[in-house]
Assembly symmetry: C2
């Protein structure tokens, strides 16, 4: 009898709860409406990639290559070294460390959702991920290899020959540097992070954000952050000067790195960078192309003053930071790949 | 009607197949009998670990710590850097590279099946894996961290505090350097590689080895390799001088590294090393503590002359090498762990 009563009571509460939820979803929600005009939720499906059909075989091969340290001359660095899938797709360093313990010039951008960016690298010098993938492999301060060396490594290992043939059927020479890049791009296209609280909010779940996060979202739009960080990737779509209103200090914006100017040789592009995606930004400290800011709250304050001419107060900074935490999505679940063994004919690691 | 006939036919063939298998397992097989006296198949279960009950919670935490680059001062090296689970549990380098691009003194031994070794490191200076795990974290040429720094990192991250409390319930201070080592040991205990062709042979499947491999197994026992490489781990159980009969050249056995002598200070232990497990040896080039030999065939030849006084001919080397390939077992399937983000209070990477 007691049980029945309790069940009835629970049932009633649930029914009321359901009505409330339905009510809040149907009721006018001006914040949600405004947000939906500026942002889009991340689809759970794998995005389409230009000129590179994403097949299961390419993804499998690309995953092996993404974790393959033998793409580097030393045999030490893989893509995952600087774009660690366990660490939000970055390495947590100011700037990455590569061959011979050299420090790279810029902070490693996250590989997560990178497929949705308009172009790759901080200065957008690579059109897409397949162009990007070739960069670090050859960069002297990163993996320090060459296309010839990469081919010598891969063609020495029979399993790789089979995997390339499977991933690129009907091609005469499936094992090629271009196909290395295409396979990596196909795997990276799977590295999206859907279902962040903010995505759920955009999809109509009003309580997916708490009050502080909602206040932060409102500020994010009111203050103008969303002018550069919008769309499905909440950034990553266009180029903007760092220091529109007020140049940050030389520690944060080193004068020697003129950003996109190096790509376009246009004076207007001095200190211009691609706005980064803010998805998973709570996981990807330190911040900015210089990697000089370790605290997300400080990064928010710097953006306020340098980009918007707004001196944000502590409450506003807390609110925007809380909103940014709502951009952390479901991280990729990846089975660590078993790589085929080197043979005596495989080029040996080169540490010098 | 056709279907029924086909089903019957398939049934008959299967039945005959089953009889043949049973027949071959029951028939006298002197090679199998000899092998069973010397070796044991690897169980599929997780081995029991001394003073460290292997729980699901410890394994989960240990996996995170195994892949955790923030255990190193630089934030670059994790256990997996030198004991790469995709590469047979090693790094494929002559000797490992650590902090500041320093080269370590010895070749990285595989973590796979290491739980079954009598002791850890080439000289057996660590009694077990929990003692071993503390070494590289603190070694200046490897991860270059300190227990204090590791504690500062882990206690700054709330998720780790929860995970340690889950893994070490009822402990007053669950986050401790000892428990870091215990969790890593628990995870490493899962890194066994059962069901190698040789295991299947020992379990009665006569055709799990081909004729060349069977000839190699016979030689492995006849020539005396199995004197040092026997038991469930096919090695790893005792200490032996490198160069029992004939010292190999200084390139392979550098005079400066006197092996176990450094541990016991006993003259008898000069150039004495723990015999390595030969499981997965086809995956773990280069070979020996010096990492100077890249070809498994050459390693077999060197062992023949230096340890057994036997100049093996090419056919014998091929046969033993083929047998060694039958020791490659099922590699661990591991989902890459998502690590909790650093906070502004987390110690920053230290590259100097």
């Amino acid at each position: 009898m007691t049980h029945t009563l309790k069940a009835l009571a629970v049932g009633t509460v649930s029914a009321i709860g359901a009505l409330l939820v339905a009510g809040s979803a149907l009721a006018a929600d001006p914040l949600m409406d405004r947000a939906r005009d500026l942002f889009k939720p991340l689809p759970a499906s794998i995005p389409v990639v230009k000129d590179n059909a994403v097949t299961r075989e390419k993804i499998d091969l690309g995953k092996m290559l993404f974790f393959e340290p033998r793409l580097s001359a030393s045999g030490i660095f893989s893509c995952n070294s600087c774009h660690n899938l366990g660490l939000g797709g970055v390495d947590g360093l100011e700037t990455s460390v590569g061959h011979g313990w050299q420090k790279g010039p810029r902070n490693s951008p996250t590989v997560l959702n990178a497929v949705l960016n308009v172009a790759q690298f901080w200065d957008g010098r690579a059109e897409d991920l397949k162009a990007q993938a070739k960069g670090p492999i050859q960069a002297g301060v990163e993996m320090n290899s060459t296309p010839d060396r990469v081919m010598a490594v891969l063609t020495s290992i029979p399993t790789y020959k089979t995997k390339f043939a499977d991933a690129f059927p009907n091609e005469k020479n499936p094992v090629s540097f271009d196909n290395v890049a295409k396979a990596i791009e196909a795997f990276e296209a799977t590295l999206t992070t859907p279902a962040a609280p903010f995505d759920q909010f955009l999809e109509g779940k009003a309580d997916a954000l708490n009050d502080q996060q909602k206040a932060g979202l409102a500020l994010f739009m009111d203050k103008g952050c969303s002018a550069c960080h919008n769309g499905v990737n909440i950034g990553g779509q266009d180029y903007f000067p760092f220091g529109v209103i007020e140049k940050p200090g030389a520690d944060i914006l080193p004068p020697g790195d003129k950003g996109r100017f190096a790509v376009t040789k246009t004076a207007d592009d001095e200190y211009v960078f691609r706005s980064p995606t803010l998805r998973n930004v709570a996981l990807t400290a330190p911040y900015f192309h210089s990697g000089k800011v370790w605290d997300l709250r400080q990064a928010v304050a710097v953006m306020g003053s340098s980009q918007l001419g707004a001196k944000l107060n502590e409450t506003e900074i807390d609110q925007i930071t809380a909103f940014l935490h709502s951009l952390t999505g479901q991280q990729p679940r990846v089975e660590y790949p078993i790589l085929p063994a080197s043979l005596p004919t495989t080029p040996q690691p080169m540490l010098r």
